[in-house]
Symmetry: C2
Subunit: 359 residues, 2 copies
DNA sequence: CTGAAAGCGCTTACAG
DNA sequence: CTGAAAGCGCTTACAG
């Protein structure tokens, strides 16, 4: 019974050439045990026959699947596109596939999702943990993307320093009374950013912190945040710790007739898709997801692949690899919402997507 | 050499019990060829030993990997979270894993991404095609999520009817001069929505269509859309074909001091993450991604799995399955941006996510 | 430089 | 109801 596959396998190539399957394997994998002429002949025949190697069979034999898992706290998170794209790209450059798993904010489901990935034989996984979760040993290499203040094997943006940069920016602009806006005080990332903001603003600046979650617990979800009153009370800058909160602040202020940026400044974090598109465009701080993903994947690969020779120098990005704790700088992107002229933009705006849906 | 796996395999269970591996396999798969007592004993031993089946080996043997591919035009698309979450969920309920592939807006990369998925032995794939792409036969079952006006094996929201609903809503509100805002005239989805909007508004309403892509080709990316002038010219409603464009319109109008909704209405499509969060919250039309994903996955599974018995009635959602062309109704969500009081909200707002990052 | 053989862990006819 | 055997497609020592 040959229910499997449609195309030819190694034996077919071997038979067509009158050689053994082992030789075909060696020729194709280029481990140098086969004569150059034979290698060429094998390659040609493989191409002619439209040979596609079975990664499944290889996985069974070698014990490595060539697949990595990506575990996310909640795929609906607006930052997810950036993360997933960067990880998918880094992984596929390194020859790995990416299996996604959504824990939907649920801690039990996170465990379950990890288990499913293990069953499927992933060689390692990237975990963006649910708030407050510590990842136990799961029996395969793991890279956690979180914040440096989370202990463990982590790659992350330097959220604190990113906050500090934004704080300095606002301080230089002359703001002396700043409202910091966070979603949840339970978030390490958000606390890091707020800590950095305060430090960057410096001791001469008066700060207050508004946690949206707390306000909503009293006023109800989606309630106004009372920002107009804050503006009246002398706050001139509203520094949110995410672009989602920044957008909420911006529209609430605009709706109240308060001009941004001429009356007050608004800033966010993460350079989410809408940030360059709204009027005024949002000043924000962006994580270097490409680098973070590269570091995470490189760390995983080092843990997975036997230390052969150093061969592929490309895999190790400029000799930098995640060693226990890696923190990647964030990048301040100044746009109109903090009053800078458009020409001061430090970053090309997000390109709109080319898909049918969603744009 | 036993480089593979850490845990026990079937042979280990078989040996521990003094039976054959075949019997263990039959017992565990519950195909009813084994006596109830033995089944129980096998199960117990498997649990005791912490047996985890090798999906890889099963895949090699059966020719089915239990993995589905998800091909996206651009993971950065703001709609991607909804799609990915729904697909991941539907697939994992059906026992399948999901491998992601990003074509990054590039048509060559789409082909390449599909090829990589095939190599990895996916049993089928869900494709959200790049604009204008027609998916060729890829050698495995495919479900395309697009629009009913795209020919082929498609599951989609009924974009036209969704537009019509929005059109009727705006018409009932008394609008007689409406600006339709789209991103790109090359998009079938957007054209369908615009067609529906016009039909829903009816012949008594004056319409004009603004394509952002065209404006930007002249004025530059991120340029103002001149909406204040439109308002001055008598347009009282701005119906965007995506919430991203709607947000752009909303903030541009607000910035110009035009009150939404008391002076003009703004509406969008897709219920993207920020829609319930901005002030005023956006009236929009939402795709039923859960149903679309269920239909797509169900269609794939029917194509993949041999027609055994009808057994799992759950897999077929209420007897409805994608048969060639399936169109799922869209849902109008009325919020403040078109002037309705908050209490008229037809839909619970999106929950903020519980992750560390992005909120 | 090339080949024969074993084996990764499972499932599936086929016998008993 | 249970088992022996073959085989999915590959890779890897080991011989020649």
């Amino acid at each position: 019974m040959a229910i499997n596959r449609s195309g030819p396998n190694m034996s077919a190539i071997a038979a067509a050439l009158g050689v053994s399957a082992a030789t075909v394997s060696n020729a194709l994998s280029g481990k140098g045990r086969v004569s150059p002429e034979l290698i060429e002949k094998v390659r040609a025949k493989a191409a002619e026959l439209g040979y596609v190697p079975s990664l499944t069979a290889r996985a069974l034999r070698t014990g490595r699947s060539g697949v990595l898992g990506l575990v996310l706290p909640d795929i609906a998170n607006p930052l997810f596109p950036q993360i997933a794209q960067a990880i998918e790209n880094a992984a596929s450059n390194a020859g790995y596939g990416v299996l996604i798993a959504d824990s939907r904010g649920d801690i039990a489901r996170q465990t379950e999702a990890i288990g499913r990935l293990i069953e499927r034989g992933v060689d390692g996984m990237v975990i963006v943990p649910r708030r407050g979760t510590r990842i136990a040993d799961v029996g395969c290499p793991v890279a956690v993307i979180d914040t440096p203040s989370t202990p463990g094997n982590t790659v992350s943006a330097d959220h604190w320093e990113g906050g500090a940069e934004m704080g300095r920016h606002l301080s230089l602009l002359g703001h002396r009374k700043v409202l910091l806006i966070g979603a949840s005080p339970a978030s390490n990332v958000q606390n890091d950013r707020i800590g950095g903001l305060k430090a960057g603003l410096g001791p001469g600046v008066e700060c207050d912190t508004l946690w949206i979650e707390k306000v909503e617990a009293i006023e109800g979800e989606g309630c106004p945040l009372g920002l107009a009153a804050r503006a009246a009370a002398g706050f001139t800058a509203f520094a949110a710790v995410s672009d989602l909160s920044a957008l909420r602040a911006l529209t609430e202020l605009q709706r109240a007739g308060i001009g941004v940026p001429e009356a007050v400044s608004v800033s966010g974090f993460d350079d989410l898709i809408w940030s360059p598109v709204v009027t005024p465009a949002l000043t924000t701080v962006r994580m270097d997801m490409t680098t973070i993903a590269d570091l995470a994947i490189a760390a995983l690969i080092r843990a997975i692949e036997p230390e052969d020779e150093p061969e592929d120098a490309e895999k190790t990005i400029a000799g930098k690899v995640a060693s226990g704790q890696d923190r990647v700088p964030m990048q301040l992107i100044v746009r109109q919402s903090t009053g800078a002229p458009p020409s001061a933009s430090l970053h090309a705006p997000n390109k709109p997507t080319a898909g049918e849906l969603g744009t």
